[in-house]
């Protein structure tokens, strides 16, 4: 009797505790991105995780292929007038938004205008635009004031913010206000009711999406969706994400920390691959407004003391997982050039000290901002501090969380009044590979990116690059931009970390793309 009661109790417990086998049957794949999704509007914020979300539900007029060339995406055909002043675009027929409304020229124009308010390339494009007008529901024209060599590259811009197309009623929202209703014309629909900021987001296959006929190539080509549902879950702890993938609870990790990669060794059910043609560059930016880095000779001395391998070994560790690269446009750029870079070679401290002596440096304090809450940046500032101390600079490394750093770096005051001398960052090469987009090449002075680099020559080179239509001449200009950036020490590239994704066999073969794309996954 007692035994049978015990058996019944055990059976009941098992029935209660064991999960129902079909509880997750309708979830095709669960993915983990590099961070939590909290803001949905990919124009309102340039957060990378929001950009990834944007690619799921929105589409673009043009898209970059694997060769880095813009290819039509929502556009069917287009013409360029002989004088290079008028572009006429015809949309593919049958394009629909997720609410069933057709995509029209008015939607496109409103979307481009909103995007241009927030994007450097968009702003430049609109500055040379005479008129953007609808010819009919499917055709629109872009009339320029003068020839511009970056029209298609702008419309195919892959980095944040991306020129995504949304319904006019949403695109009419001021760009300083976030859109929360997510209606696009992309391959996946967003499940609004499932969204929990920072926790979970769900996407369903958009049945009315018509993919292009060409094979998928990076951001371009046919987005053929084979999944019914993609669920994005946030897992803050990298170790937990790795365990969950090994255990089959999730199917994809966008970015595995370098020190956890070895945990997949010998795990046959998981594929580990480097991200294609894209990496994250560590960057060092000096404050040109305040001593000592308002003096170019001090900047050159500091750069001579830096050595990329020190940074890469401290932050990444495994030489197979980083790239030593001195190109200000990154080694992923079609315009890559490493002319003049010294930080890729062993540092010449004697020369650095000599340069510092010649500069007239008088021991002014160098405040290095140290972000301590982001894994990717935590080991960077101490290397900088030590390198500069080794040539006799008076370094004060100040620790803070990244949110504080973002606010602190806007202060233009002297270091004694809360200012700063150096901050370091980690930026995707998608946002660096074009000189018009790269924030570190912003040479407009106080109106520009923190660090407030001012150099009319650099701005002139960028203007020439923007209007130049000939690829060979653009390469020459990119070379000149590299040389000028190194000479003036606009910023110091500190090396590129190759990011690795990991995914289960359930995901199938992913598109070889610079970002996680799920339209070929099975």
């Amino acid at each position: 009797m007692k035994k049978s009661l015990l058996f019944m109790a055990a059976a009941m417990c098992a029935a209660v505790v064991m999960p129902a086998s079909n509880a997750l049957a309708d979830v095709n794949i669960k993915i983990v991105q590099h961070g939590p999704l909290r803001v949905l509007d990919p124009i309102f914020t340039s957060a990378y995780v929001t950009r990834n979300h944007g690619y799921m539900i929105f589409d673009t007029l043009f898209a970059m292929d694997a060769a880095g060339k813009p290819q039509p995406q929502m556009v069917d055909t287009f013409t360029e007038s002989p004088d290079r002043l008028t572009y006429t675009f015809k949309l593919r027929s049958g394009l629909k938004f997720h609410d069933g409304a057709p995509v029209t020229s008015d939607d496109v124009i409103a979307s481009l205008q909103r995007w241009a308010q927030r994007d450097v390339m968009g702003t430049r494009l609109m500055a040379v635009t005479e008129k953007l007008s609808a010819v009919d529901a499917n055709t629109f024209t872009l009339q320029l004031k003068k020839p511009y060599g970056q029209v298609l590259d702008s419309l195919a811009k892959p980095g944040s913010p991306v020129p995504f197309i949304m319904p006019k009623r949403l695109a009419d929202t001021p760009s300083s206000q976030a859109i929360t209703e997510m209606i696009g014309s992309g391959p996946f629909k967003f499940v609004q009711g499932d969204f929990q900021p920072g926790v979970k987001a769900t996407y369903l296959k958009f049945a009315d999406y018509v993919p292009r006929a060409e094979p998928a190539s990076n951001f371009a080509g046919g987005k053929v969706v084979k999944l019914d549902r993609v669920e994005v879950v946030n897992i803050a702890d990298g170790q937990t994400a790795v365990n969950a993938l090994r255990n089959g609870e999730i199917d994809f990790i966008e970015n595995v920390a370098p020190d956890l990669l070895s945990q997949f060794d010998g795990v046959k059910s998981v594929t580990v691959e480097p991200k294609s043609r894209e990496s994250n560059m560590y960057t060092l930016r000096m404050n040109w407004l305040q001593p000592p880095f308002d003096n170019v000779k001090v900047r050159r001395a500091a750069m001579a003391a830096l050595y990329q391998l020190d940074y890469l070994d401290a932050s990444v560790g495994d030489e197979k997982r980083y790239t030593v690269c001195g190109a200000v446009l990154s080694c992923a750029s079609p315009y890559k050039s490493e002319t003049g870079a010294t930080q890729t070679k062993a540092p010449d401290l004697a020369r650095a000290r000599q340069l510092l002596k010649e500069s007239g440096y008088k021991g002014e304090k160098v405040v290095v901002l140290h972000s301590t809450d982001l894994r990717v940046l935590v080991n960077i500032a101490p290397i900088t501090a030590q390198a500069l101390r080794s040539i006799g600079m008076n370094v004060d490394m100040q620790a803070m969380d990244f949110t504080t750093l973002l606010a602190r770096r806007t202060k233009k005051d002297p270091v004694e009044k809360g200012g700063w001398s150096i901050f370091q960052s980690s930026l995707t090469t998608l946002d660096l590979s074009n000189p018009l987009v790269n924030p570190n090449l912003d040479a407009r002075g106080e109106a520009g990116y923190p660090g407030w680099t001012k150099d009319d020559t650099m701005e002139s080179l960028k203007d020439q690059f923007a209007v130049e239509g000939d690829e060979a001449k653009r390469m020459q200009l990119a070379e000149a931009i590299q040389a000028r950036a190194v000479d003036q020490v606009m910023y110091v590239p500190l090396g590129e970390a190759i990011e690795y994704k990991a995914y289960s066999a359930k995901v199938g073969k992913l598109v070889d793309a610079q970002l996680p794309m799920f339209w070929s996954a099975k």
Partner: protein, 313 residues
């Protein structure tokens, strides 16, 4: 009893107002700008200024305070600066996982800690007591993240018996709900079992030497009644106090455990909100915690009265 409850609830109003004011001021004193967090690394100053204006972050501090307090007095905790969702909705979404984890961990703790503590006192300085004491010292000393990772390694990665992470709501079934709570509850219970066992043992040792216990035994009262009816009831005050503190700790979020097991609870909500300088979420969450503290303290005081008729407020 009713008048006590009413008096305590009225007394909570100034407490909550002071908490709200202090939190408001602390947040505004902290460096960092939510507009920059939203706009991202490469946004222009003009963009950030527009966002600040839209979020009323460019208003004078006193006006921001008046707005926040006015909303709060109407029962509106405001809207998240980052996600644009109502704070009350964000908290309620995270409350389920936190409450589930807290209640299972607490239930496990009470079921284990009180009997072990009582028996340790009863078998004072015998092998059971020594083993229990050594175990509780060890359990209290090992950080929760170590316990969590070891449990995951053994039961999830190697044996594949239990899931690594995640939370399933009770609405999806009792089985899946409990299945995902086993390891995080065990992780949390480890430290609380250790704490409450020690308190129970110490409290019981004090009581077991009292005259009324000796009298009960002399009258021939069975030992189990002596221990669990006479002694434990009189030893309960400090135990109840610690259980109350443990409950507030659990409800206000156990960030490390939530992070390791990827449980979307209140703890991770407030940490994320602080890092992003999401003022309304931090403010609303802390306000919510202050209410919890008030109610738990009130509940503890009421339990004191029930346990010991000599106590009067």
């Amino acid at each position: 009893m009713l008048s006590l409850i009413i008096r305590r609830l009225f007394a909570a109003i100034p407490v909550v107002l002071i908490v709200a004011t202090v939190v408001f001021l602390l947040l505004r004193m902290a460096p960092g700008d939510p507009a920059r967090v939203i706009a991202g690394d490469m946004a222009s100053e003009e963009t950030i200024a527009q966002i600040r204006s839209n979020l009323a972050l460019d208003q004078p501090l006193i006006k921001q305070y008046a707005l926040a307090m006015g909303k709060m007095l109407q029962g509106d905790l405001g809207t998240s600066i980052i996600s644009q969702q109502p704070v009350s909705k964000l908290i309620s979404a995270r409350l389920g996982p936190t409450a589930a984890l807290a209640s299972t961990a607490m239930l496990l703790t009470i079921l284990l800690a009180i009997p072990i503590g009582v028996l340790s006192a009863w078998w004072h300085r015998r092998w059971f007591d020594r083993v229990a004491t050594a175990s509780t010292i060890l359990a209290f000393s090992v950080p929760a993240f170590v316990v969590g990772y070891v449990l995951i390694l053994v039961f999830s990665v190697q044996l594949n018996w239990l899931p690594v992470q995640g939370y399933t709501p009770l609405a999806d079934g009792v089985g899946p709900f409990l299945y995902r709570l086993v390891l995080p509850s065990l992780t949390l219970a480890t430290v609380f079992v250790a704490l409450i066992t020690r308190i129970t043992r110490a409290s019981m040792l004090d009581i077991l030497g009292e005259d009324f216990v000796r009298t009960a035994r002399a009258k021939g009262v069975p030992e189990k009644y002596v221990l669990f009816r006479h002694a434990l009831r009189n030893a309960a005050a400090p135990i109840v106090t610690v259980i109350g503190v443990a409950i507030t700790t659990l409800i206000s979020g156990v960030v490390v455990t939530e992070t390791i097991f990827n449980i979307p609870g209140v703890g991770s909500l407030i940490v994320d909100a602080v890092l992003a300088r999401d003022y309304p979420v931090v403010q609303g969450t802390i306000l919510f915690f202050s209410f919890i503290y008030v109610f738990v303290n009130l509940a503890i005081d009421l339990i004191y009265v029930l346990l010991d008729p000599r106590i009067r407020y």
